[in-house]
């Protein structure tokens, strides 16, 4: 009655400070968006410039990739290096997926807790080994001793070595993430199955595996993404600066990432068409990676099991 009350909160120093902090944090978060914009922008600008000189159809559907040769021999069909990327990734996954999943099932379902406690951290550490280590090993030991030692006649730079090493590289990642997914399946599901008389094999393959499917798919796509983007192993081992559309793994192939790194080492001047090819290929690679990522998100959502 004599006391005035207000339902409107007047801004105090405290709440102004809060608002300022919130704004600052928002700005920090925006930086990530800015980064993406920058990536896309830097890639797109040169890409557009590139397509001013080379028709899109030639790029997307051409089957000859010789951008670094003299002008009249230049050819800008991207299919060979996309093919090379997929081919090498394919060999890698052929190695990594079966081995990785088997390892994951072992760790999640069969291994004794003590064994698991030792092996799991080792796997996670192995997933963090720099790729240059794998490349070194393949170049100095694997190709000359193992592959040639088995009598397989390969080029010095070949897809077989590169693919197998690539597989070894992504194997720890696939195994680790898949194992996480399978461990997350509640015991009750297993116990129920055992109670109904299922064998361990049946429980692992028919109960746990499908239940963890979304995580396993995520693991596979994660491995595939790493393989697609891998640069150093390919440069050192699959070597070719000549793109190849064949199917013989004993020959050398070129991947998009390797092309980018190998070309930019030659330090090509800004503005030339060779410079622009780095960006066009980079943009293509970026697009493929986004596609894989989107697929991963959608598949994970589709197969995700919600436990109680």
């Amino acid at each position: 009655m004599g006391v005035r009350t207000s339902l409107v909160r007047t801004p105090t120093a405290r709440s102004r400070g809060e608002a300022a902090i919130r704004a600052a944090l928002f700005l920090a978060a925006i930086l990530s968006v800015v980064t993406t914009i920058l990536i896309v922008f830097s890639l797109v600008r040169e890409t557009i410039s590139f397509f001013g000189d080379v028709p899109i159809a030639d790029y997307l559907f051409g089957t000859k990739w010789t951008p670094l040769l003299a002008a009249d021999q230049q050819s800008f069909g991207v299919i060979p290096i996309v093919y090379g990327t997929l081919y090498l990734t394919g060999i890698g996954l052929l190695v990594a997926v079966p081995l990785g999943l088997l390892c994951a099932i072992y760790l999640a379902e069969y291994a004794r807790p003590r064994v698991r406690r030792v092996i799991k951290p080792i796997l996670e550490t192995l997933a963090g080994v720099p790729t240059i280590v794998f490349a070194y090993f393949a170049l100095t030991f694997f190709t000359p001793e193992v592959v040639r030692g088995l009598g397989i006649q390969v080029n010095q730079f070949n897809a077989l070595s590169a693919g197998i090493i690539l597989g070894l590289l992504v194997l720890p990642t696939i195994a680790s993430v898949a194992e996480d997914a399978m461990s997350a399946v509640p015991e009750s599901l297993r116990e129920g199955a055992f109670g109904l008389g299922a064998s361990k094999l049946q429980v692992s393959l028919r109960i746990v595996f499908p239940a963890a499917l979304s995580g396993i798919v995520a693991a596979l796509i994660l491995g595939a993404s790493r393989a697609v983007g891998e640069t150093v192993v390919i440069i050192l081992i699959a070597g070719g600066q000549t793109a190849n559309l064949g199917i013989d793994p004993r020959e050398s192939y070129q991947s998009m990432a390797a092309f980018i790194a190998a070309t930019s080492r030659g330090d090509i001047p800004t503005g030339s068409i060779k410079y622009e090819t780095i960006f066009v290929v980079g943009f293509t690679l970026f697009a493929i990676t986004l596609l894989l990522n989107a697929m991963s998100i959608r598949l994970v959502r589709r197969y995700r099991q919600v436990y109680e």
């Binding site: 990530s32 088997l102 390892c103 080994v129 090993f137 100095t140 720890p172 094999l201 983007g229 998100i297």
Partner: protein, 303 residues
């Protein structure tokens, strides 16, 4: 049947579960073999790699190796001082850039952002996409924007640091968010109920509670950053410099680049040096990983 007869017949049975058929047992054994085989192959392959590197490189490890520079005329006199210091400097620049930005973004996304707003969802999806982009593309970004283009630093130490920071920033954000999310809402609610502002709650309750997880994540992200070769190749790190970077705007190299250059040299001596340099890199990474594990074990909060 009497109770005794039932008990007798129960005792006679070996198990309550049905006997596995011969065929089931065959598949089980086969599967076990496959698993052990896979495990064996995987560890054989990965172990061979580490063994080969260790055996080739160990003989060349010495304090000299750490303090000398690469030599063209007497390969045996080469060392990795410039590369090692380059790597350490890069790690520091990364840390300085990534720690504040990463934590700030994570705090914003977890504590302040309204998930229903489109721009917040955009930021989230963005970060997930960025984490999946190959490192080579970050190299291109660095080349186009930081080395040449608007910022135009040239291929110098700072450019390398910025590029690597952009590379690991999404990972740091994701990890920091997980750590912050692990702090139970009850802690926050209690603090607010006692009259603290949101920021005070975060600064005094949430952050300290999640700092172990955040620190671990940062260390792991940094170890990823210094193991990367591709972005530095694209930017144009120097090959075998005989001097250390003397400032942010100096030419630089890093261990992965030095290893790369030496591995390609047909001269067997340089290849062995590459193995030794790999060992140096792995030791640095192992140290960082150990620090991360120790941090996690000692300071992890169990709620």
């Amino acid at each position: 049947m009497t109770g005794a007869q039932i008990a007798a017949s129960a005792r006679a049975q070996r198990s309550v579960l049905p006997e596995a058929s011969g065929r089931d047992r065959f598949y089980s054994t086969l599967f076990r073999l496959a698993m052990y085989g896979a495990l064996g192959l995987a560890f054989l392959g990965l172990g061979a790699i580490l063994y080969d590197v260790a055996v080739s490189g160990a003989p060349r490890l010495s304090v000299d190796f750490l303090t000398k520079f690469p030599s063209r005329i007497i390969p045996a006199n080469s060392g990795v001082q410039s590369a090692l210091l380059g790597t350490l400097y890069l790690m520091l620049i990364c840390a300085v850039l990534v720690v504040p930005l990463g934590i700030a973004t994570a705090i914003y996304l977890e504590e302040y952002a309204d998930r229903d707003r489109w721009y917040n969802r955009l930021v989230e999806v963005n970060i997930q996409n960025l984490a999946a982009v190959p490192s080579v593309v970050y190299g291109i970004l660095g080349l186009a924007f930081v080395v040449r283009g608007p910022i135009g630093l040239g291929n110098v130490l700072l450019a390398g640091g910025i590029t690597l920071s952009l590379l690991v920033l999404p990972v740091v954000i994701i990890v920091a968010r997980e750590a912050i999310r692990a702090v139970p809402p009850s802690i926050r609610e209690g603090s607010l109920a006692l009259g603290a502002t949101q920021w005070q709650t975060i600064w005094k309750q949430v952050l300290p509670g999640s700092i172990a997880g955040i620190a671990t994540g940062i260390i792991l992200a940094l170890s990823r950053a210094i193991g990367e070769t591709a972005p530095l190749l694209v930017i144009g790190a120097a090959a075998s410099p005989r001097f250390n970077p003397d400032g942010l705007l100096a030419d630089f190299t890093a261990l992965p680049i030095q290893i790369f250059v030496w591995t390609q040299d047909p001269n067997r001596e340089f290849v062995e040096l590459a193995a030794a340099a790999i060992l140096v890199l792995m030791i640095v990474l192992l140290l960082m990983n150990s620090v991360a594990i120790v941090l996690r074990n000692r300071y992890e909060q169990k709620w």
